[in-house]
């Protein structure tokens, strides 16, 4: 089973996914913007207790790894690290924007999550779901053939990044395809998007328009099978932005390992 965690923005979301049986054992999401530090672990504790899930049955922790609020990423990331470090299981970093797009699994439109990144910027990306026609399960029993069954793979048209909302609109117009837009950036940017977009577009409804730990866990399961899981020690969020001090001085803080006493 995989524990999914997303506290990258105002949403706090946790879920237990039984990936082998393609079943969500439990999910708990709150959108009230309460301090994640106080709510996230109690939420995790609650879903384990209610469902009687045994901690040792968790095989990996999928976590929204950024972008997002620096504080939110730290709380989610350190929580994932603590549990994974204790249970000695891997962490699967799931890019936040990809996790959001995965809410729209199987849609024929292209998917464009927009997160409010402040300063008139958005954390965004553009994705599409492509049919895997060839992966219909092969059965020995020809009568039970599932030749018509297919799955989807999410493909990136534009990888997640921090960009100006106007530039994003230009890019979507260039692509010229019907688009589903979702995320906490919608209330912020909807007016400007409606004005600038020349393509048919729709805004995803409540239930799938915010971060979901279920999507993080499902996409995480996929990434784990692709060998993208890391150790608790090696996990670090992807902030997509340097700290102010680094931007202002032009000096990167990377590559300094410090000393141990």
């Amino acid at each position: 089973m995989i524990l999914g965690i997303d506290s990258s923005s105002l949403t706090a979301s946790v879920a237990i996914l039984d990936e082998g049986n393609d079943l969500v054992i439990a999910e708990y999401t709150v959108n009230t913007g309460k301090t994640h530090s106080q709510t996230l672990l109690p939420m995790i504790d609650e879903i384990f207790r209610l469902t009687g899930t045994v901690k040792k049955d968790i095989a990996a922790i999928a976590v929204a790894a950024g972008p997002g609020s620096f504080t939110g990423l730290r709380i989610g990331g350190a929580t994932a690290k603590g549990i994974a470090g204790a249970l000695m299981i891997p962490v699967i970093p799931v890019p936040t924007v990809e996790g959001l797009a995965y809410n729209c699994y199987g849609y024929s439109e292209i998917i464009c999550p927009v997160m409010d990144a402040r300063r008139e910027q958005t954390y965004t990306g553009i994705y599409e779901f492509v049919k895997n026609e060839g992966d219909a399960p092969v059965s020995d029993d020809k009568d039970m053939s599932e030749a018509g069954a297919y799955t989807y793979t999410m493909k990136s048209i534009m990888d997640q990044c921090a960009t100006d909302i106007g530039l994003l609109a230009d890019r979507l117009n260039e692509l010229g395809r019907d688009t589903v837009i979702l995320g906490d950036g919608v209330p912020v940017f909807r007016e400007i998007l409606d004005k600038k977009l020349k393509i048919a577009h729709t805004y995803a409804p409540a239930g799938i328009n915010r971060q979901s730990a279920v999507s993080i866990a499902r996409l995480g399961a996929r990434y784990m099978s692709e060998g993208k899981a890391v150790s608790a020690a090696d996990f670090a969020p992807e902030y997509l932005r340097q700290s102010q001090a680094e931007r202002e001085t032009g000096i990167s803080a990377d590559g300094h390992e410090g000393q141990e006493a």
């Binding site: 994932a80 670090a236 700290s243 410090g258």
Partner: protein, 339 residues
Amino acid sequence: MKDLFVLGIESSCDETAASVVLNGHKVLSNVISSQIDIHTLYGGVVPEIASRKHMERIDRVVKKALADAGMSADDIDVIAVTYGPGLVGALLVGVSYAKSYAWAYDKPLVGVHHIEGHICANYIEHEDLKPPFLSLVVSGGHTHLVNVADYGKYEILGRTRDDAAGEAFDKVARVIGLGYPGGPKIDKVSYDGDPTAYAFPRAKISENEYDFSFSGLKSAVLNELNALQMKGLSYVQADVAASFQQAVVDVLVTHSMAAIDEYKPECFAIAGGVASNTHLRKAMEEACAQKGVRFCMPSPIYCTDNAAMIAVAGYHEYIAGNTSGWDLNAVPALKLGQR
């Protein structure tokens, strides 16, 4: 009583630290991952960078503390973590990690006050030290004169009105070209200087004789240097450093001795990063000897931010029945004695 192994975790500023301590004084491991080389690039601690580095290091630091102690996490009885005061982003990494680590192992969690940790560092090497006693906590972020009435019971007699003592060290060191971190550099260079070369002020606060103020002293140093520059005169770095340091030490000693006169404790203990200043240690030791009061100080490794002191404080809080819930939050302006 059964042996109690406490894992301490500290991330309130720029050191990521973890430690295993047995029964509140026997340190089995003490891992401190310092970020000082990074923050030196920016001339001081950058909170966002500190938080990110804590995130990168915390799991390795905790694992190393367990390995150094020759223990597995299953052997740990209690997990203690600093939840304030400090930099909020930095604190959140330690708090979130410690909480989820404790949760995963079904271990009790204890949130610890950072300054309480500094004071408790004295129990490590002074096993017979017991409250009540008086303590002076001096560091880059704190200057507190505290009456330790009992374990977990603190009465703040005085605190700084503006800069912390260590902050003044950093600022003056920067101005005279010694760079960051200022404390150790001023300590060292002062041995070559004349502490009476400049008569810098010793601030007194009229409303509370135990309160401190170091911003005036810092300004006095700046003004002196500006005045010299206007006259086209140069100055001897070591003399300025020694004179500044003497002013800080004098104020810390004078206030502490006044408190000793009033409270008549059996013991006086210093703590915090600035407590590793060799001139301060010597001056306090001599002053306490004159008063006939026992003087305690931790080794420098337990003066700097470390997690052994957090484990020790966590031990005493746990014994007193104080544990924290899974909703424990980082409290950047946490007051001493508040839970």
